[in-house]
């Protein structure tokens, strides 16, 4: 490409850089961390590599392998920084790495035309989600280091102030360096447990995006997309891991319903009311193939079972055709694999549809004393629904009012208030 025809391509270059940022950030950063053994220096260098790409690609054209180009640029920058900065300016100790310490020689011999760059994203993501870091730190680091989100963006995603999020990220990075959390892929025996922590973080990102805890919108699309992207990346890194396949299936099958979860006026639509013809058929097909694969392992992972439940709904042509007995059976297995009051709550709801509202209500009432469900708005909401179906209007009203007290999501609140209005005025 020559310089004269690049001016017109400025927006194409900007798009290519933005695209590479979204797809390749983690790859480039993970490779650069191996050179710097310092997360902050690596982040700086990667940011500069992306900035350089804007001008360089405009002048010389977009490279065939943007990730390799960016990695080489970031590593070259890193070696310069390290050479000039010297040990005395180092703020934190170097990250622990068991492999050979890369020197200037071998750091640059891979790249656009050389040996393939090793994929270090797995070591980066397990480091972000190390069990010695608390969950909020794991989530913040994952968004920041794996997805390349700015601190301001991560803060916005979790509704905390930017200084609070900056402090959380700084503390986590400091702990990684000072407590010497190793930057490496765990041994085969440790791997399942460590991957499980990563999957929990990705799942949490998805559920946070899927139903925003507080605010005006039901879904925060960017978080949902980031979590699906992370799950796809894990799938490529660990193609034989059934829990990874299960999680990706769960996200795809749940997100396939995205267009139908709210009415044009923003009102929440339940599964029962959703227009199934507008569910995403490609996501469903991909999700179902992954579920089949994930369920082949015994015992199945919790994500595979949750995905299998989502698949029952996805494959059912209508609400009335839903195979509720199959759903209850899957919840029974899920309860064994992953005992949790929330799973028990969902199972009770399925029992209500399989065996009638009275049976569902009885199953829910058995959970009333569960301390983990105290303050959990879906319990009174589910009770209210069964009470309404049973014609127990006054009890239903009390339960809807209780559920309203427990959710801060505006769309969910409007749904509950609508149901409450539908019950008519108090009969007492």
């Amino acid at each position: 490409m020559t310089v004269k025809d690049t001016g017109a391509d400025a927006s194409a270059v900007a798009t290519a850089v933005a695209d590479a940022h979204r797809r390749e950030w983690a790859f480039v950063l993970a490779a650069t961390v191996r050179v710097t053994r310092d997360l902050d220096v690596a982040e700086e260098c990667v940011q500069e590599a992306f900035a350089t790409a804007l001008t360089d690609w405009a002048a010389h054209g977009v490279p065939d392998r943007p990730a390799a180009w960016l990695t080489t640029a970031a590593k070259r920058r890193a070696l310069n920084v390290l050479r000039h900065r010297g040990v005395e300016h180092r703020y934190l100790p170097l990250l622990v790495e068991e492999d050979t310490v890369p020197g200037p020689g071998d750091a640059l011999d891979d790249g656009p035309d050389g040996v393939p760059i090793p994929d270090d994203r797995l070591r980066l993501v397990v480091t972000c989600c190390h069990p010695a870091l608390d969950r909020s730190a794991q989530v913040a680091l994952t968004l920041r280091l794996m997805c390349g989100l700015s601190t301001a963006e991560v803060a916005r995603a979790f509704l905390v102030s930017e200084p609070t999020m900056a402090a959380r990220i700084t503390r986590a990075k400091k702990k990684i360096a000072l407590a010497r959390i190793p930057y490496r892929v765990p041994s085969a025996e440790e791997l399942p447990e460590r991957v499980d922590a990563v999957l929990s973080v990705v799942h949490l990102l998805f559920t946070t995006g899927h139903t925003v805890p507080a605010g005006e919108e039901l879904v925060r699309r960017d978080l949902v997309e980031r979590s699906v992207q992370l799950a796809r990346m894990l799938r490529r890194l660990l193609p034989r891991d059934p829990a990874v396949a299960g999680l990706l299936a769960l996200l795809l099958l749940t997100d396939a319903r995205r267009e139908t979860r709210t009415a044009p006026d923003g009102r929440l639509l339940l599964l029962e009311e959703q227009d199934r013809t507008r569910w995403d058929p490609a996501a469903i097909a991909e999700g179902i193939a992954l579920v089949r694969e994930a369920l082949r392992t015994r015992p199945p992972s919790r994500y595979a079972l949750q995905a299998a439940i989502a698949a029952v709904h996805a494959e059912s042509p209508s609400w009335d055709d839903t195979d509720w007995r199959e759903v209850v059976a899957l919840y029974d297995v899920l309860t064994q694999v992953w005992p949790s009051p929330v799973v028990a709550l969902n199972r009770a709801v399925a029992v209500g549809f399989a065996c009638g509202a009275a049976a569902g209500l009885a199953a829910l009432d058995a959970l009333g004393s569960e301390p983990q469900l105290a303050g959990y708005g879906y319990l009174p909401a589910a009770r209210a629904d069964f009470l309404r179906r049973l014609g127990r209007v006054d009890d239903a009203r009390t339960a809807y009012e209780e559920a309203l007290l427990l959710t801060d999501n505006a769309v969910e609140r409007e749904f509950l208030a609508g149901r409450l209005r539908g019950l008519g005025g108090p009969s007492h």
Partner: protein
Amino acid sequence: MSQYLILIYEDEASYATATPEVLGEVMQAHNDFAAQVEQHGAKLLGGNALQSTGTATSLRGAGSEVTDGPFVETKEALGGYYLIEAPDLDAALAVGKICPARFGGVEVRPIMTFE
């Protein structure tokens, strides 16, 4: 290699009421622990058991005011420690996991180094 302190926090009341058999088991567990540390790629550099917090004396403030008792009153008190050397936190936590603390738990803290 880095150094870590494994701080053992346990319920002192449980020790006060423990039978001689239990105390014997605890002693044996610590001896076994010492023998197993190296299997985790770590090295035991030192360690001690402490007398109960009833024997502690605290000095605080600019005037070093003397008070009878531990610095912080807690149900699970610091009762002993091991100093280990380990290649990284994963190895240190593996050692922490096998450290006996039947009436409580342990905290693993990296030792600060000054260059």
